[in-house]
Symmetry: C2
Subunit: 276 residues, 2 copies
C-alpha cells in the first residue's frame, strides 16, 4: 500500500510498540533493546506497548485518557506478554487492568481509562502557563550526543530532544538545583505526535533528579499520565519539574504542550532518588 498524506511512511514508534493478539485478553510483544537507557528499558516505551495492547482489546474506545503504571521489576529486551482484564466497559468510558509479564513474572501493573476521544472533547479554560523555550535552532540537540553516550542510552536514537542552552548544566556537572528539565521533542522519523504517543513521551526526558545534582538511575514506583488533547502538528514542548524530595522519594511532574500552545498532557510519577 502506498503512503497517503494521512499516513506516516516509516512509523518506527508504531512498529516498536506492536503487539500480537493471542486471544483471551493476552497479547505478545517483543521488547526492543533499542529503547534501553542507562541499563534498563525506558518506562514510557513499556507503557506504549501496554497501552497499545489495551487499544487492540477495545478498538471502539482507542484513546487513553488516564493511565497509571506501577513498576514491579525491570522490563528486559526480549519476548513479553500483556495480560488484560476489562474492569468496566459502558457508556463513553472503559477501564482496563493490564500486566506486563516476562519469564512468568509481572513487571508492570497498569490501570487505564480509555474512550473515543472524538466523543468527549469540550470547553477549554487553561490557566497553566506555557513554558518559554528558545527557538529550536538555538537549542542543544540530542543528535550531538557522542557514540559512548549513545551506547549507554541508545533510546536517544529514536527521537530528538533540543534543550535550551542555559538549561543543560545538569549534563555538565553543574545542576541548577531547581529540579527542572525541559526540551523540544519530535520523533526522529517525524511521525506525528498523536494523542496516544503522549503516554510514552511523558517519560522520555532525563530524570529531574539530575538537575538536583543526583545523577544515576531513579527507579519509578508509579507513573500516571492524563492525555488532555490531540497535539497539533509540530514539535512538542516537554517540561519536567519536581518540588518535593521527601520521604525517600521525589515526584516528577511533566507537562506536554503542543505547537499551538495547548497543554495536551500532564503526568506525575513518584520515584526514588539514586542511591548515594
Amino acid at each position: 500500500m502506498l503512503p497517503t498524506s494521512n499516513m506516516v511512511p516509516m512509523a518506527e514508534y508504531d512498529d516498536d510498540i506492536a503487539v500480537k493478539d493471542l486471544g483471551e485478553g493476552r497479547f505478545a510483544a517483543d521488547l526492543l533493546g533499542e529503547w534501553t537507557v542507562g541499563g534498563g528499558l525506558n518506562g514510557g516505551y513499556l507503557l506504549g506497548v501496554i497501552g497499545n495492547a489495551i487499544r487492540e482489546l477495545i478498538p471502539a474506545k482507542p484513546d487513553p485518557i488516564t493511565i497509571s503504571a506501577f513498576y514491579l521489576g525491570p522490563g528486559r529486551p526480549g519476548p513479553a506478554e500483556v495480560h488484560t482484564e476489562i474492569k468496566r466497559d459502558g457508556g463513553s468510558l472503559a477501564v482496563v487492568a493490564a500486566d506486563l509479564v516476562q519469564e512468568g513474572e509481572k513487571r508492570i501493573s497498569v490501570l487505564a481509562t480509555y474512550a473515543d476521544r472524538s466523543r468527549i472533547d469540550g470547553e477549554v479554560r487553561t490557566t497553566a502557563i506555557e513554558p518559554v523555550l528558545p527557538p529550536l535552532e538555538e537549542c542543544v540537540s540530542t543528535h550531538a550526543m557522542g557514540p559512548a553516550m549513545l551506547e549507554i542510552a541508545p533510546m536517544y536514537r529514536k527521537f530528538e530532544l533540543r534543550f535550551p542552552p542555559n538549561r543543560v548544566g545538569w549534563a555538565q556537572g553543574e545542576p541548577s538545583g531547581e529540579g527542572v528539565i525541559e526540551a523540544w521533542f519530535r520523533f526522529r522519523d517525524d511521525r506525528p505526535t498523536d494523542a496516544f504517543s503522549l503516554i510514552t513521551i511523558a517519560d522520555l526526558l532525563p530524570p529531574v533528579a539530575f538537575d538536583l545534582g543526583l545523577p544515576g538511575w531513579s527507579p519509578t514506583l508509579e507513573l500516571t499520565v492524563h492525555v488532555r488533547g490531540v497535539p497539533a502538528p509540530g514539535w512538542l514542548k516537554v517540561r519536567h519539574a519536581t518540588r518535593n524530595l521527601a520521604g525517600g522519594m521525589f515526584e516528577e511532574d511533566c507537562e506536554i504542550w503542543d505547537s499551538e500552545g495547548r497543554l495536551v498532557a500532564q503526568s506525575r510519577q513518584l520515584a526514588r532518588p539514586p542511591r548515594a
Copy 2:
C-alpha cells in the same frame, strides 16, 4: 482497655473504614451513608476502606506510599467487599491490586504501593511553597453549615474545614474563577491525622470546579495520592487547584501541609465537570 496518651479515645474514622478479613484476600466492609456528599459516597472515604483492607493484607508494610483509584461506578451505603491481589511483595515495597465490589459489580479498581515507612524516610528538599491561610479563628467553619446543607452532605459532620473568608465566594454564587479551594482540616474527634488518613483527606474538599462557576457533581475518573510524610500533630492545610479544563475533563491537584510546614501528601485526580 483504657485510653492512653498514645491512643485516640474515639477514633471514628478508624471505625468507619473497618474491614473484616474473610480469607483468600477478601475483606468485608460496611459502607456508611454518613459519608454521603451530594448523593454519592465520598471517594476519599471509599479509598480509606480499600486502603485499610490492603493494610490488613500486608501488615508488615502498613503504609500507603502511592495509591491510584479508578472509579467505575458509584459506591452505595451498605455491605461491600474488597478483593485484593498481591502483585509483588519483595524488598521494602509491596504492590497490591484491589477492587471494591458491591452487588457483584466492581465499583472501584485500585493499584497501590505500600511500605514500612520507618524504613524509607530520607532527606527533604522542598521548593514547593506552603499556602498561607488566615488564622483558624478568622476562618469560616463547616460547623456553621445549616441543617438543610448537612442533609445533602452529611459527610461534613465527620470533620471540620475552616475556609479563608475571602476564599468562599464559590459557596455564595461568586466563584473566583481561579480554580482554587483551600481550608484548614481536622477530624471532629481530633483523631490524629496520621499518614494513612491522608489518602482520605486528599478528597474531602468541595470540587475545585465550584470555584470555576461549575457547581454540581464532578465525577472522578481517577485519583492518585502520594503520601510523602507523617504529619506533625495539629490542623492540616489542604489546597485543591486546577489549571487545565480541557478535553471534557479537569485535573484537581491537592497538596496537604502539616503544622510544621511540611508537604506531607500530593494528589491529582481527573474529573468530568458537571453537566451544564
